[in-house]
Amino acid sequence: MADDIAMRASGAPPPHASDASPPRASGASPPRASGATPMLAAEELAKYFDVSRPLLQRLLAREGRRILRAVDGVSFEIPKGTTLSLVGESGCGKSTVARLVVGLYQPTRGRVLFDGQDLEKARAASEQRRRMQMIFQDPYASLNPRWRVRDIVAEPIRAFGLTRDNAAQRERVAQLLAQVGLSPLDGEKYPHEFSGGQRQRISIARALSSNPEFLVCDEPTSALDVSVQAQILNLMKDLQRRLGLTYLFISHNLAVVRQISDRIGVMYLGRLVELAPAETLFNAPRHPYTRALMEAIPDLDMTGRQRVPVGGEVPSPISPPSGCPFHPRCPLANHRCKAERPALIPARGTPETVVACHAVEEGRDGAAFTPMDQRPPGPRIGTTATAL
């Protein structure tokens, strides 16, 4: 129980918990693309939430503060013009990272660099704020129902004072609507006249209206039906090609992520456990959690094979397990995994992957050395997944 509740004075910087986070190995951050400044860099980013009960109740129950570590030391870089996806199950902290990255939350620790500049400084200038936009999950909640579509799309143009000329504004809105596959005439309508997929197109048009370079997309297709999801994914890829956009893409759907990402980070309990180029991650997943996740996805293959589901459930981020957060569910866990938090370091065999796993580091993970497509036939990772 003592572990469960982090006792600490309010306001004091959160201590680096007892699981002594080891110094970051030099390879921990992905190699920079030929020295160019990445669009975005997160450095040891952390966000803790105080979810303690009110003071009086705490005193009566003689309990300490309860700190939820939503994000606990995450580092990554996104080179310009590429897509980094973060995947993980609910509660892993991926949406919190998205909010930290656009400045909707203040980090508890660590920092975000936007085009080489500290995010806090960057956000003070509207010229910098204009360069980043966000697309949200629920297209029903993220559009004001009482505004016409043309006003919704034009709002960033007005807010950033990009043009004061009404005719130019109207023309720009029409052009944006056409760009996302809607009719310029749709600008006169209200959001309720559109289906979910069309509303997500409106959200995208709004995000593009300030000519951003960097888009944070938090589960942009998970509220949509599968045939519409395909439309939106195709649109996003097409816009990236045409406008040279950089995306941070948050999703729980590995199949979607594979279609859109250059690199993928897998999160578990507020930490990055694996970060790799998209194809490498799918062909040779290294972290036991990544492998379990891929194994668990129901597929359309119908091989009739017996699935080995990951046992247990995701522990509470208020009292994360010691050492490696995945160790209670991990088939490869040993005493070291229980005691020592693994650092994100290049994996043996697939050096372009960085992985936080003692078993991989020590070479105890056996089969993972053979890339998927070179393995002998037998139980294999499923093909097509899934959600409509």
Partner: protein, 333 residues
């Protein structure tokens, strides 16, 4: 074998101020003992509505306006409320998407299981408690003898859904209607629940109707699949054929738009447009405005389910009398 559930030409209507909306139109299918029928489709296709009509829980003003629902050969669509209430739980079990709203937060899970069993089965309190513990063990809840006295909030989401499954099955119904039973769960938990449902249906010989939008879940669990579109069945057949070799242009488009996990495709297949609203279902085939193979007949005449290969598809391309026949691409995956 006689089917447990036989739905014939079911029609559900919603009278509104602006006219009557037809939510389900001519839906027919049957489920045999031990069989899992998957019902898939996009939101608004009528899949949950079909489940609700069968368990007699249509939201008013929705009503069954035509057709029949037979459970073990007996009509249940026209039963009075009180009689239907006795059938629910005893003969039809229901599993819904959100396990938290299904369970009563004020009673222990044991009490809820015991109450359900004592309502429907002739059991003493002690026997019912023993069985409740047995059911919790069967659905994979560790330390069932202790957890039986816990309240729903003391369980995690995956564990709660296991309790809901135990609750749906504890009176040993012949039919279980499961509406999106894994949608609210994380993937790693989803796989555990799917495996459990499948095993129980097989062991107990229960017929199961599994409503979901997740094709992967269907492919892993169902024996047969019905693909719904705009309140109608577009295609129905064995799961392998419908997933691997769909015949209806809508099923084909649907399967193709699922992003593959094993490779990256530059451009995903997409079906342009969206499903029509209930107030504006086009005449003829409901899919005709989005169909790449549409021809004159589709715009005027509504297609019946026609035999094609191992499945039946509601598409005029498979009527030998049509002026246009299915292209090779559709006939052979």
């Amino acid at each position: 074998m006689a089917p447990i559930l036989d739905v014939r030409d079911l029609r559900v209507e919603f009278p509104t101020r602006r006219g009557t909306l037809t939510a389900l139109d001519g839906v027919s299918f049957a489920i045999e003992p031990g069989e899992v029928l998957g019902v898939v489709g996009e939101s608004g296709a009528g899949k949950s509505m079909t489940g609700a009509a069968i368990i007699g829980l249509l939201e008013p003003p929705g009503r069954i306006a035509g057709g029949q629902i037979l459970l073990n050969g007996r009509r249940i669509d026209n039963l009075p409320h009180e009689q239907m209430r006795r059938i629910r739980g005893r003969e039809i079990g229901a599993i819904f998407q959100d396990p938290l709203t299904t369970l009563n937060p004020l009673y222990t899970v044991g009490d809820q299981l015991i109450e359900t069993m004592q309502t429907h089965l002739d059991l003493s309190g002690g026997e019912a408690r023993q069985r409740a513990i047995g059911w919790l063990e069967m659905v994979g809840i560790p330390a069932a003898a202790q957890r039986v006295d816990s309240y729903p909030h003391e369980f995690s989401g995956g564990m709660r859904q296991r309790v809901v499954i135990a609750l749906a099955l504890c009176a040993e119904p012949k039919l279980v209607v499961a509406d999106e039973p894994t949608t609210a769960l994380d993937v790693s938990i989803q796989a555990q629940i799917i495996a459990l449902l499948k095993r129980l249906a097989r062991e107990k010989g229960t017929a199961m109707m599994l409503v979901t939008h997740d094709m992967g879940v269907i492919a892993e669990t169902a024996d047969r699949v019905a693909v719904m579109y705009a309140g109608r069945i577009a295609e129905i057949g064995p799961v392998r054929e419908v997933v691997k070799d769909p015949r209806h242009p809508y099923s084909t488009g649907l399967m193709a738009s699922i992003p593959p996990l094993d490779r990256r495709v530059e451009h995903l297949a997409q079906i342009d447009g969206a499903m029509p609203r209930l107030s504006a279902i086009p005449p003829g085939c409901a899919f005709n405005p989005r169909c790449p193979h549409v021809f004159d007949r589709c715009r005027v005449e509504r297609p019946e389910l026609l035999e094609t290969g191992a499945t039946r598809a509601a598409c005029w391309l498979y009527d030998p009398a049509s002026e246009k026949q299915a292209p090779e691409a559709l006939r052979h995956g």
